[in-house]
Symmetry: D2
């Protein structure tokens, strides 16, 4: 679960769709609340009563983006919602999802999680045909495909369109009278299906189902398209149902998903706990106390303690009100910012040999600042244990890691990182230790950020297109 | 000048573009302030420093939509801005202009005033080719044309694209390094060109030039395209320069433009004053006092008094704070709403024969409520004089009149309207009286709302497309 | 009516009280809307259902200060409201009225308009007794008097307390079950009584009664106390009913009140029109056009035209959206600020001999800037006519004039002012001309700002106390 | 640390004062951020540069109440700040602290934490003398005492005034040139003193000192008054320095303070951990997993695990975004509200014997709902362990417990509570177990909520005065 802003990797979004329930938009609102950890930049809800489509969108947290007094305008039994991740930079009104578009078939609404790897090529292709783009979202590319007469006239336009798409997507689409859920054949991003008393819900994580009191049915399968309309849901598959190279994003287990969600067949908490156990076996060290970085290291620390027998201590305390508080320029030192979020409990660490457990290191700067506060508080030794392997490669399927050049493990050896951080020892999870903790086999996962083996080919010009690198070429806010 | 919400006709927008001035976005902000009467629903500014494009957009008045603290982020010497008119219904975030898009040539920004008459046909055409639409603005259609390889590859892509467009448009376009202004060959909507110390400004009305201290050079000509870049502005024309059937919107003289603006070659105040004079000559009546409806009837009332010799009285007083104040459901009677905006000065009208001067009657309901308050205040006789002819036909070039069925003069004779309003006499301007007051000849104007003679053919399925009639099919807010 | 921020004199407040009407707070809200011109800094409403007292308060315009969704919490048949004037400086949350206090008798709510002249002495007196003050309002002093056992134990505590107060006050008080209106024996500030279907309303101006559809009964008399509770309203008087030296603030006629209000027995519009007539008789000049400064000079200009026979012209056009728009530091020149509010209609003034009519000159700087824009627009001659006499003395009864040192007419002769403004002639109203325009005799008015004759003695240390000069010693905002 | 809204006890406030540091208000802002857990209803900061006093106040979290852009207006080297606790009901603008008042000595600013037990009597006393009250805060009473000539003329007015006050207070006072910190002789509420590079800080908890990088010097002593001005801080004591009956609020150890703060001589985390250990010894049970209620049970659970040898599990997961999200009426069931905040990790508890550790039970309703979600998730047995003894008596010194009638332990036996909650066993901490965990002896603490022995006499009419029970008699919001 994300620990707020900072150097953590960020994922694209959380999505949810509801079919067949009175006032579906209110359930979507509650469900987005449960998925808020997947995106804090913007939120949107679109609903239909079978004839009319209404929407509300805005920047910020769900509660800021959508005035709850306005929910009653979003009437109808079909609704989709989206939360988008937060960047430190500018926020684009145009990018707020769900995306509402009109093409020859009428109005289509789409909410999407994941990154397409041939987005740039498709974008160029359609631009060369004269198409225009107004957002930097992959949702827009999918709608261009849907609208393309080549696909629009196919027997199964959606399957035909998705057949051209490569990379990661979990998505919900709706028009005035139907809801559709779809997931890429590799199953990169999670998507779960649940039953409500009178209808259905699909959501990025099962924690949204739990909040709504929905019964978890199963995951939407890799390559599956489920259509909700009159009668029973209709399921079909892209290509062969079982022949796909699966590529579940293993970082969902490690960091993204909420610990209470069941992702890729296993409760996230359990996987993280086993990661901690494996880490303790592989990188033991004699110490006095195990301190997780809250909340990202919490579950793994439990496992580490269990396996090592070293007691847990709450050496870091989190300030829950960090969200909106400013830091004055004078105080912008990394150390002050770190203290705004986490304070050290001196007595827990002073004079002690401390094992710090966290899920990952990205740039290393925040981590270094935290180590510094531990030292200030008198920790005698600091041993850092990371429940994931070193992140050495960028992600092209939806995780907003920094450029490879900024990934500390892409540039430095473990020993160099240890020296950079100024700690007594540093232990990373091995890829094998990681795989031993997850519910299925190696070939079901995408491990590219650790191994550099990309399960879906990435075009050479991958990277973002002009409107996205918008930080350079374009920056539209509000 | 609009008197706020109510039954007044509404126009699309105000636009402005600045080239060659440091911190152009700040001038655009000030200019939009001067154009605020042309649109209160949303505002947007996009700026470029020659390399990077930044924007800010939002719903509401300029001051609500764009935080002035954020203007300093909009750096650069090129900027365009837009204010959009206010509807009582839902407001769509997606429709906020300027529209920022990317197509094969890169990023293009467009701000547009006016309505295309073949918008629906073009929209259908492009949808049949597979294009998708995200807004209900005509700007989006223009970008689709620009992006169409057929035009994009033409020697003059903009001219080629605009050659396909019918109807009304005054627009500014920019990319990272250039600004372009263009106006339809009929010259429906105004667009003025001014010189700043180091650069240029184009704006919907000269009142924006005045506020910026710009020197008015001339109007952008009908069919003219002016390109601002390195060196001197470059001007060219669509088709023949002088062969176009001009069709200036005569309602700009009557109501839309600010009285201090010079529109179509004449100060608006002067035209309105002459309208009042002509009205007095054509529809004289013996009375004690002439009371304008503020502010829309102010200038014409001056002329009416001057010609008739009947003294002016301020029988109506306007509350300047109406803007944001609510009306509780219990108080929603038309009469209360009218009083919130205008109160009657009893002594001015009690026992008097009162001539009320206003610019137009649309539905007639607000007008009737105002008459009622005059009667309550003891007016002995009420004579209504309207400085425009009866509005009998809808506008397809950018004025948001209600459907013909709701236009009182489309349904009723003048005598029937008089009885409906419960007044002693009703006098409208004649079309001849109107033409006698304006600076150029009949064939320079569009008089369609009065005569039904549409200078540019309107396709049979004119009316709005699905996303716009959105009130029925789609309503996206915030 | 105030023309917004600027150099205009500012008055303290508008007040309203309602008794005996279901959902009284909603009527108070509407009434405050009509009184908004009397104060834009803050607004507050307090209501009681006979047992429980609820309130809402906030900074800014009524619509900003109080969320209309919250009005339904302010239940009950008794309510009072207050709007407070806007200063350019800091705004104090603590000063928002109505003031809710508890003393030995229970909870008392008070809303007050006017300035006490012995406020400082009373404040010192009570401070010397150990009392504490939390606001810089005179309302607080009145409550200290009410709470003083010396008055609290009197047969008529309110009369006893008000007997100690000197200066100007129109006020409404309420507790859980009663409403009281009171006005100082000199009748400085207006206060009107009206009948609603089931109850009563008292308000600063009759325009609030008009909006509520209340029937105007009469003014609350100078020195009168009216108590509203079960049964018929009960009226009594402070001291002798008729022996008081009346001292109506003549500036209510000239500038403060809305033209549609009946103040001190006469419609404001009529008085102002006569002021213009008298001015034309006393200060004639040969000219082409009479241009009022909107809106403050509008009524007087009508009279000026009528008497002089010179036609009215709308040489200045007001931007209705000035309220919230910023001025960048670079543009802070007075001239730019003036143009943001008022633009000149060139054709009306170019080459003309222009008579400008306004109600008053305070500092003269804004006036000078306006003259400058007229000259820029080509006015051949500029003749300024002011419908009030020169303001030479500060007001201690509730008008926020600047220090005498900043009053241009306190320092300069009329000829010196003329030269300072750079105009061709300057004509002020004489005191006699002023008195000839108002409904009652000289000895009914306070003319102190013109004559220096203060009808109620002002203690030598008058001026504001520490918390108020807070600009120097204390400044509490929000 | 509070887990947000809900049934948790609430304390009054957090306070901070800074002396001798440039831009003291910015440090106060950061310090209040660290103290935000002590109050979320409102925040205020007052600063002085030695001559002028400025302030900013508002409702909501610190970041909502005070715009950081406005901090630069709060110049000067002295500043005090206050955060106030959040109630579910109405919020009164008037109650926002620090309280700024003027009395005979000039302007005094006060921020206060704690409840006076003779507040009502003093309020009545001063009301009988004619004083008025505008807030329901005890700060106002203290200022009335200070302003009372009887104290004001004493050699040490502050000591004289505080000598009349009974109950709990930690407070900071400032005038234009001095800062004073004071704490009641019983030392109910914490108050710590720290050294900054050039000055001093006093704050409710040391976590604020840590964030500012201040060096912790010592607690402000019970009965101590420290004056900060030119030269070294000056300390004096109320009455005898060491003869007071100490009465530290033991709930600061149990729940209020942040775990990283040092309170009453001991790090909070350590005390809570020992509470868990003692609880494990006293109330052992055979079980599979120990699940803390986050965050209130976190530290005690560590101790419970350590002593019992039963492993820790994260059976509850907290949603960090609960703060501002609504609950629709349809969803207002307690169970939905509980899930919005905490979700159960099914795998951790399903089929398990679960020990739930929390700090306290107040009403029992939220607790019951949580147990219910555990049962739904399949917990085989649920054993609840509470690290504090049963709360049986109301607090009159600053904790906002509900009325005794609503305290479940005041009405029910432990066995009855167990049955009410539907759990397999319930174990409370004993008072002895509690005392064994805290740093000093029984007679240093107030244990009244557990034992009913009130260390400072409570007047029979204790309870809140009219303005506070305002929920009944008065409710002023915003």
């Amino acid at each position: 679960m994300p620990s707020g802003a900072g150097e953590k990797p960020r994922e694209d979004c959380g999505i949810i769709g509801i079919y067949g329930v009175q006032r579906a938009a209110e359930l979507v609102y509650a469900g987005l609340h449960a998925l808020q950890h997947r995106g804090q930049e913007s939120a949107g809800i679109v609903a239909s009563d079978g004839a009319r489509i209404h929407s509300r969108k805005g920047l910020g947290l769900l509660s800021e983006a959508i005035d709850r007094h306005e929910l009653h305008d979003l009437c109808g039994h079909i609704a989709v919602g989206h939360v988008r991740y937060s960047t430190t930079g500018a926020k684009r009104v145009q990018n707020i999802q769900p995306l509402v578009t009109e093409y020859s078939r009428g109005i289509t609404v789409i909410a999407h999680n994941g990154n397409l790897t041939n987005a740039r090529a498709l974008r160029r292709l359609y631009q060369s045909h004269g198409s225009i783009f107004q957002t930097s979202t992959d949702s827009e590319i999918i709608v261009h495909l849907l609208a393309d007469p080549q696909h629009d006239k196919a027997p199964d336009p959606l399957a035909s369109a998705l057949g051209r798409v490569e990379g990661a997507y979990s998505l919900v689409l709706m028009d005035a009278s139907n809801l559709v859920a779809a997931r890429d054949p590799h199953g990169f991003r999670p998507l779960s299906l649940g039953a409500l008393e009178d209808g259905y819900v699909v959501a990025s994580e099962t924690c949204a189902l739990d909040l709504l009191g929905a019964e978890f049915i199963r995951d939407v399968g890799p390559g599956e398209i489920i259509e909700f309309g009159e009668g029973r849901p209709n399921s079909r598959y892209l290509g062969r149902r079982d022949g796909n190279r699966l590529a579940h994003c293993i970082f969902e287990h490690i960091y993204f998903a909420r610990p209470d969600s069941v992702v890729f067949g296993e409760t996230v908490h359990n996987v993280r706990r086993r990661l901690g156990e494996n880490l303790a076996s592989a990188c033991p060290v004699d110490a006095d106390v195990v301190c997780p970085v809250p909340d990202s290291g919490d579950c793994a620390a439990l496992g580490y303690c269990h396996r090592s027998g070293i007691p847990l201590g709450r050496g870091f305390v989190r300030n829950h009100y960090i969200g909106r508080t400013f830091i004055t320029p004078a105080e912008e030192s990394r150390s002050f910012g770190v203290k705004m979020k986490l304070n050290v409990v001196r007595d827990v660490v002073a004079g002690k040999r401390v094992i710090v457990v966290d899920d990952s290191i990205v740039r290393g700067t925040t981590c270094k600042a935290r180590i510094h506060t531990l030292r200030e508080a008198g920790a005698r030794q600091v041993h850092l244990r990371i429940s994931a392997p070193p992140i050495r490669f960028p992600c092209f399927y939806g995780i907003d890691f920094p450029h490879a050049g900024e990934l500390i493990a892409a540039e430095k050896s473990v020993e160099e990182i240890r020296r950079f951080l100024g700690i007594d020892s540093l232990g990373y999870q091995s890829v094998e230790g990681l795989l031993a903790a997850v519910p299925t086999s190696r070939d079901s996962y995408c491990l590219a950020c650790f191994t550099g083996e990309y399960p879906v080919e990435v075009s050479e010009d991958m990277g973002k297109y002009a409107m996205e690198t918008g930080r350079r070429a374009y920056d539209e806010s509000r």
